[in-house]
Symmetry: C2
């Protein structure tokens, strides 16, 4: 297989960047050298210890030197400042991409700093786990998951195709989408669900009549799935909500409207309404399993079943 980029720079070394590195290594011929940079000395030391990146640099400026692809893997709120810092040091003709969960805001804050002759192709791999940091990555994270590319005007098709090929070699399926639509779709499939999960876990934590130990002991009844989502990285998620404010608030509005309708059905004893609602939602689950985006095994396959 052909090499797609010679030198790649990963700015920020968390779950996504470290998974990208291991996926690049798995391929072997996808890229030449990978340079990495992380803001804290502790993360850089961990990266060096575990062999994350071919070279770990002490500044972002050093990492992007001569890079053909620069991947911004920092929280959404840090994208603009990082871009401002590295802009004067980018190789002419290089491609900049990012992995942020919000695209409109990233485009607004990164674009003003782009030098002439550098191509910006925003991206978002829809993959992740509740773990974070340089040691949480693994090569298989993107396999059969979607990466969305959100090209801005003026970028040659060939550069978009090149980045697409790169992501496909990392294991992902790739789609193109515009920024506004991306931010709305993600508000539905990711941002609002995360906010709701955080809220429910916070409520459980607050209730002093139901002790922590009970909530934890009896969590298998449904609650534990919320705690997994609500264990995600706080800085990343703070930035998501602050920068995808409009779409998140819109979907939250829809959510509370529906929740109040169900709450009213409970209060008035309208069992038909509840039953019809709960029946409708089953079909969506079947669609997700058929689309290969989750397992049909009971309880996500958590239970190890023997022969009957």
């Amino acid at each position: 297989m052909e090499q797609v980029y010679d030198r790649v720079a990963l700015i920020g070394l968390g779950l996504i960047a470290s998974s990208m590195f291991w996926a690049m290594k798995r391929d072997g011929q996808l890229v030449g050298e990978v340079a990495g940079f992380a803001r804290t000395e502790a993360t850089r030391e961990t990266a060096r210890r575990i062999g994350l990146c071919d070279v770990v640099c002490d500044s972002a400026i050093e990492a992007v030197k001569d890079a053909d692809l620069v991947v911004l893997c920092v929280p959404v709120g840090a994208m603009g400042p990082v871009m401002e810092e590295i802009a004067p040091h980018l190789k002419p003709g290089c491609t900049i991409t990012d992995v942020g969960s919000v695209k409109g805001d990233v485009i607004r804050t990164v674009t003003p700093h782009l030098p002439e002759g550098v191509f910006f192709v925003p991206g978002h791999p829809l993959a992740g786990t509740e773990h974070s940091g340089p040691e949480s990555g693994f090569a298989e994270l993107f396999d059969n998951r979607w990466t969305l590319l959100v090209p801005v005007e003026g970028v040659p098709d060939a550069e978009i195709a090149r980045l697409r090929a790169f992501w496909e070699r990392l294991g992902a399926n790739v789609d193109l989408m515009d920024a506004d639509h991306h931010d709305l779709v993600l508000a539905v499939t990711s941002h609002t669900p995360h906010l709701i999960a955080y809220t429910m876990v916070g409520v459980a934590d607050d209730l002093r009549r139901v002790t922590d130990s009970e909530v934890i002991k009896y969590s298998a009844a449904g609650f534990r799935d919320f705690t997994r989502i609500a264990a995600s990285d706080p800085t990343m998620w703070r930035d998501v909500f602050l920068t995808n404010k409009d779409a998140t608030l819109e979907i939250l509005g829809r959510f509370t409207e529906e929740l109040f309708a169900l709450q009213r059905a409970i209060r008035t004893g309208d069992g038909d309404h509840l039953h019809a609602y709960f029946t409708r939602t089953r079909a969506i689950r079947r669609g997700i399993i058929q689309a290969g985006q989750d397992t049909a095994a009971p309880d996500f396959g958590r239970v190890k079943t023997g022969p009957k």
Copy 2:
């Protein structure tokens, strides 16, 4: 190991009853014969075909004949009527239990029909999957999960201890709890999370600007965990909300209060509030993993990782 009950009757043959049967078979010496009954002919035929129960009866009355333990495994709303039907046919000295997710209402509707000399020990195994029906059961469902027993007054300790021993042999840990406390704890750990998940999935289904196929394709970003919960049995869950109305509405009130506070923080750009909230919820997840109630593997171990 000693036999705990001679003849057991399972009334209703869904996920819980079928898992109980396979767990009884796994033990081998726990009980003598297991009789089963299901309301629909189709379920009874499936049960006979797959060998679920030693004998499948065509009436609940026939199934409970001579039973030493009768387990009501029907939706909460059906407990009272079933009890009324079988009451005159129960063996003196037998134990009645149930597996309903709500305890106060079950006690209120079942108790009036209890004949003299029959012991009622309500129960609730905190175990399940999103699947339902007679073919969804498996012997390991209760392993290391909790079963809560909610004894009512006047039942001899020996009968409670006997039922506890039965559940422990099925693989469960057993705790005792009073009904009101049970219903509040479950409203937090199970009922409200289910209602929220149903709501979020319903909202996604409603949004025509975000097509079904997009919601499904990109579900791995968080939403798919909600769809698993929202694929649970509609009849069971309708009955849960109708019968645990007060506790559910109370916790829902707390939930919306917190959600509005977070929504306000998003609207006003209060990143500190969001970050502090999201940091606090991580600790609960750690507690659940330490308590052995979930896996620490990323994404519930859905991702199969190879050596790095």
